[in-house]
Subunit: 366 residues, 2 copies
């Protein structure tokens, strides 16, 4: 990949914040010293790309973002490892997906290379914030908000693109524990023709209620079904889902309502590289339930940036509890987890060219 050299203005902070203890880090509560910003004005395009001290935004109360949620976001991570190298996992895929999301939301496209270059510079500036305890990382949140001061329901004529960074703790502080998931029968996340394929605010707002109900019942996530027939598996809160049934690995096909995860995509490539039998297709809950009854439901795992692999130990479908692989992580889940996290941290060879090493790229660029 080649990087564009950019006129990014950099203004460094005068008061660096204390860094958090990497042992007690939570997710998404602490942010680094700087942020990347670019503004969009109709007729002018994106302008004023800059890295500035992390600070509050000042927005008119009538800004479209507060009323009609015209916004998209992304989520990815940078990893710092024992070898001192800072790595990013397929960040160009996130920039590409952000543009797909923006298209659905009638928002302007960003220059993906330029955004990536801004991100790399930002990380370089705040690299001391990347925790390096096992399993920790720097969570990266690019997002674009609509800023026009207007109460009419119409695409905004101005936007702000920002990237903020948050050091996050290990997802698996006490080892990998399979999670319990509730199959959602009342609420629907997205339907074909809606915004399910985009990473946009409304999809997450609408998911809160089902999550709250599931929490109260002792389930850590919900598994969404399709909104039309309420039969087919879609995805989990912030993860795609895979099933291993009688040796075959199955994940719901991209269908116009699920988010196409970058972890999902990478796992499909990995499994095909390994020559495992893997299928993208419709999967009904009836099929899962029969497989369970026949003793063929071997593994279930969620996939996403946050946890990489999240084995599912129990699935509750309308009261029917399916315990998977004895509530233990399956061999395949473990193999995928070790391979992906190994590639992300440079401990396993990356035959796919998925990883971008920070220093090397900045050298190319500056």
């Amino acid at each position: 990949m080649t990087m564009t050299t950019l006129p990014i203005q950099v203004q460094l902070t005068e008061t660096k914040k204390p860094k958090p203890d990497s042992e007690t880090l939570e997710f998404g509560r602490v942010f680094t010293d700087h942020m990347f910003i670019a503004d969009y004005t109709e007729g002018q395009g994106w302008h004023d790309h800059r890295i500035v001290p992390y600070a509050p935004l000042s927005l008119d109360p009538a800004s479209i973002i507060f009323h009609y949620g015209q916004t998209v976001f992304e989520g990815l991570k940078a990893y710092s490892s024992e070898d001192g190298v800072i790595r990013l996992f397929r960040p160009e895929e996130n920039m590409k997906r952000m543009n797909l999301s923006s298209d659905r939301l009638c928002m302007p496209q960003i220059d993906e290379e330029l955004a990536l270059s801004g991100l790399l510079q930002l990380i370089e500036i705040d690299k001391d914030w990347i925790p390096n305890a096992e399993g920790t990382s720097l969570y990266i949140r690019p997002f674009i908000i609509s800023t026009e001061k207007f109460l009419g329901v119409a695409p905004s004529r101005s936007y702000r693109f920002m990237i903020i960074l948050s050091p996050v703790g290990s997802y698996y502080k006490e080892g990998i524990h399979p999670i319990k998931i509730k199959v959602e029968s009342d609420y629907v996340r997205a339907v074909s023709g809606g915004t399910g394929t985009a990473k946009t605010a409304g999809n997450y707002a609408s998911a809160l209620k089902a999550q709250q109900v599931a929490d109260a019942q002792g389930y850590s996530q919900v598994l969404w079904l399709d909104g039309v027939e309420r039969k087919y598996v879609e995805e989990v809160g912030s993860m795609n889902i895979f099933f291993k049934i009688n040796g075959e690995i199955i994940t719901p096909a991209v269908n116009g309502s699920i988010l196409e995860g970058i972890t999902r995509k990478s796992i499909l490539e990995l499994l095909r590289h390994w020559e495992f039998p893997v299928t993208e297709r419709k999967v009904s809950m009836d099929e899962i339930s029969s497989a369970y009854e026949n003793g063929q439901l071997e593994e279930i795992f969620g996939t996403g940036t946050a946890a990489v692999i999240s084995p599912v130990g129990e699935l509750n479908w309308k009261g029917e509890k399916m315990v998977v692989n004895n509530m233990e992580i399956g061999a395949l889940s473990k193999k995928i987890y070790d391979t992906l996290t190994g590639i992300q941290t440079g401990k396993v060879k990356d035959p796919f060219d998925w990883v971008i090493e920070l220093n090397q790229n900045l050298v190319k660029q500056l």
Copy 2:
């Protein structure tokens, strides 16, 4: 209705803005001198109810509102008439609906009376902003945004409730012209189990794309169909919809995916009061199309706060163009429009007790 006396702190502006010319007013671009604010903190509830000068908000870039769209809003109007009285139309219904929306979005309930009381005080302070040319009004936008600085997908632990006011021009500057509407076959607004019944940002963000396509085809709005069978009529952009077929008035029943409009509700009450045959039920596009072919499709109108009544002159369903009532406003549409706008401006007697007069209520209250 009784009003609660409230400890609302009032801080008046020192620099009043110039008022716009009421002849050239647009919708939702100009705001008055003050705004109402209340803050919510978990454990403490709503606090610091205040009226302050209209000013930008300062929010952390990691605030939940920017990422996951946890927010609700309302829209209503205040009317100033020749008799010098300022009137609001069923504002308590908006506060009630805001609480219903909040419930769907896992947001805290507001005290409806207190919010209404705050609104009336705010209008009293900014009442010189209410335009009084025929058809003009003061648009009122209550909204609640999630303010916690946190990137986890979970209900926010802090919120801000605001009310802002915008003087708006007449919807029908050049007389009532029936609009052309496209029946949407590709995109879906909402599905049962989703957030369609709530007035929340994501529903509007997801609607932008279909609207953009319709615009380009010369249609001013889209008519949404149900997301499951794509057969039944739901509602228009920001309006509910009514059909008059062979003497019967029909509107889609509240079904778990449409917004229950206050104008819709009022029109149903009015029609029943007039003893017109009116039905809330499922209406398919097939039925509309057959009625059209049989010459029984007499009137179609949209209903909502913005235009009150918006007659539909053409409906385009997959290329089939149905011209309604010769592109002219129908007699019933006109009768409802005159009655409702008459009640709203005090020119027609209000037998339903729908109108709140500002002065009278402030006297009750202060």
